[in-house]
């Protein structure tokens, strides 16, 4: 690993301003992804701004919403009694991600900013438009078993690896950020972006902006929820396909529903069309299958990941069935 300078920020203000002066400086919190990327020479900052001393670790239940500090640990959120009770989908998704050691280290903000695990992105001997713009995409025509079936481009077919983010997309979360130009809010589903011609940009976060917290509005998805994660081993692996489901049922009729997928796109993939279709319907295998078919509209595979075109709808049906039966 290239050596670097490290400084500790004591307020969000100073964190942002100390980054502002540098061209190749980055924030560091849990470090579970960044340190790994630095070891692989995929990231090589001259300076790290350690933000772990900032007062951004609290989980606060306010009127109509919960605010989760960007530095709250993944395990802290996953095991919070009130989160489990009021936002169980988030707790389930977090518990499905990484290992307990990593969840103890990784923060909510860092989870959102983790990079893709595409093997071409990680291997500096390979072309990758995300790592080196205009160098080509090794995954198109290469090994692409883990890769996207929605929203990909000729530049990049990588997927966002987070489980937590799939639940946050489903739950209509908002991201609160602070930067050189002040504070602003970003709708969670607008936070991550599709690759287009600029896959080097994972998010809509502006240069030098710092995530300070996320907010989730209260909802009624407290009982019939499920996070289904399909992976190569039963724990501690990234999703081939995952599905987050929240159902609000009234006598077997779907009053409200949230559906999002992971492992299928450059961002958490919200299934709004399928949601609209399901609203007002009575739960049945046929209805779930129709919703899954709608969700898969526009899906496209790249060879090794052809199986996702079948696994995807099956996972949606399974997740809906499990959520409905809870």
């Amino acid at each position: 690993m290239k050596n670097f300078q490290i400084i500790k920020a004591l307020s969000p203000d100073t964190a942002v301003s100390s980054l502002n002066k540098e061209t190749s400086a980055m924030f560091i919190a849990g470090g579970t992804n960044l340190v790994d990327l630095m070891k692989k020479n995929v990231a090589a900052p001259d300076k790290l701004v350690d933000i772990t001393a900032l007062d951004l670790k609290k989980i606060e239940f306010l009127r109509g919403k919960v605010t989760i500090g960007a530095l709250a640990k993944n395990s802290q959120v996953a095991e919070d009694t009130s989160i489990k009770e009021k936002y169980p989908l988030l707790a389930l998704a977090l518990a499905a991600g990484a290992s307990q050691q990593i969840r103890h280290m990784a923060t909510v903000g860092g989870n959102m900013l983790q990079r893709t695990r595409c093997s071409y992105f990680y291997n500096t001997d390979m072309p990758c438009n995300k790592r080196v713009p205009k160098s080509g995409c090794g995954a198109i025509g290469g090994s692409n078993r883990m890769h996207a079936i929605f929203g990909a481009s000729d530049s990049c077919i990588a997927v966002h690896p987070s489980d937590m983010c799939v639940a946050l997309a489903a739950l209509d979360a908002t991201v609160l950020v602070e930067g050189p130009k002040g504070k602003r809010e970003i709708k969670f589903t607008d936070f991550h972006r599709l690759p287009g011609n600029t896959p080097e940009k994972d998010t809509t976060l502006a240069n030098k902006e710092l995530i300070t917290s996320i907010e989730i509005p209260d909802n009624n998805f407290t009982k019939n929820v499920h996070y289904l994660k399909i992976r190569d081993r039963s724990s501690y692996a990234f999703a081939l396909v995952s599905v987050a489901v929240g159902l609000e049922l009234k006598n077997n009729t779907i009053h409200d529903v949230r559906l999002a997928m992971g492992g299928v796109a450059h961002k958490p993939w919200r299934l709004t069309e399928a949601e609209e279709f399901l609203k007002g319907k009575t739960i049945s295998e046929t209805v779930f299958k129709q919703a899954a078919d709608l969700a898969m509209k526009g899906a496209r595979s790249y060879g090794d990941n052809d199986f996702k075109l079948t696994l995807g709808p099956n996972a949606i049906i399974e997740a809906l069935t499990i959520a409905a039966s809870k």
Partner: protein
Amino acid sequence: MAAKKTNPNKAAADELNSRRDFIKKSGLFTALALTPPSLVMASENKWDEKIAEYLETVPLSIEVNGTKHNLNVEPRTTLLDLLREQLQLTGTKKGCDHGQCGACTVHVNGTRILSCLSLASMQQNAQVTTIEGLSKGKKLHPMQEAFIKNDGFQCGYCTPGQIMSGIACIKEGHANSREEIREYMSGNICRCGAYHNIVDAITEVKEGGMLS
């Protein structure tokens, strides 16, 4: 050959410090004496300071297994490398070095974490417990005893990480069934496949109430 009893890290740090001073001073002298255009540019970009920063170490106070250490570390040194290379605590193992195997699991302020993905320079005043810190004199920790009794290992390389993780698994309240133990121990890979016996060992310690 007899091992020399010098501290290689202190020597390295001294060397770095003197090199840094040299670069800083020589940069300044040349810039003042000659100031040709190229050096003026270099001076404006603060290259001499930038080079000095690369060679810099940061002071670190850290407590490991009850012993306080005041050290100088490069910002890029991981907690794992600090333990193994600077403190000669080689019980904590380097497996994958990328957070995928759990062999490097240690407790920091009572929580299990991966030392290979932790920068030592970010562990100011931390209290670290490694496998070496578990026994009381010659009396092994109950989890160590249980691993021996249940054959919780074959080659033993992942064992320090498994034991540190197993203790945490019980303390966190995630050892209530074999399934739960497997899920919450999934960050510790055993290539010999001793998983069944590892779960036996953790279950035995949990049921024996030996950590309460």
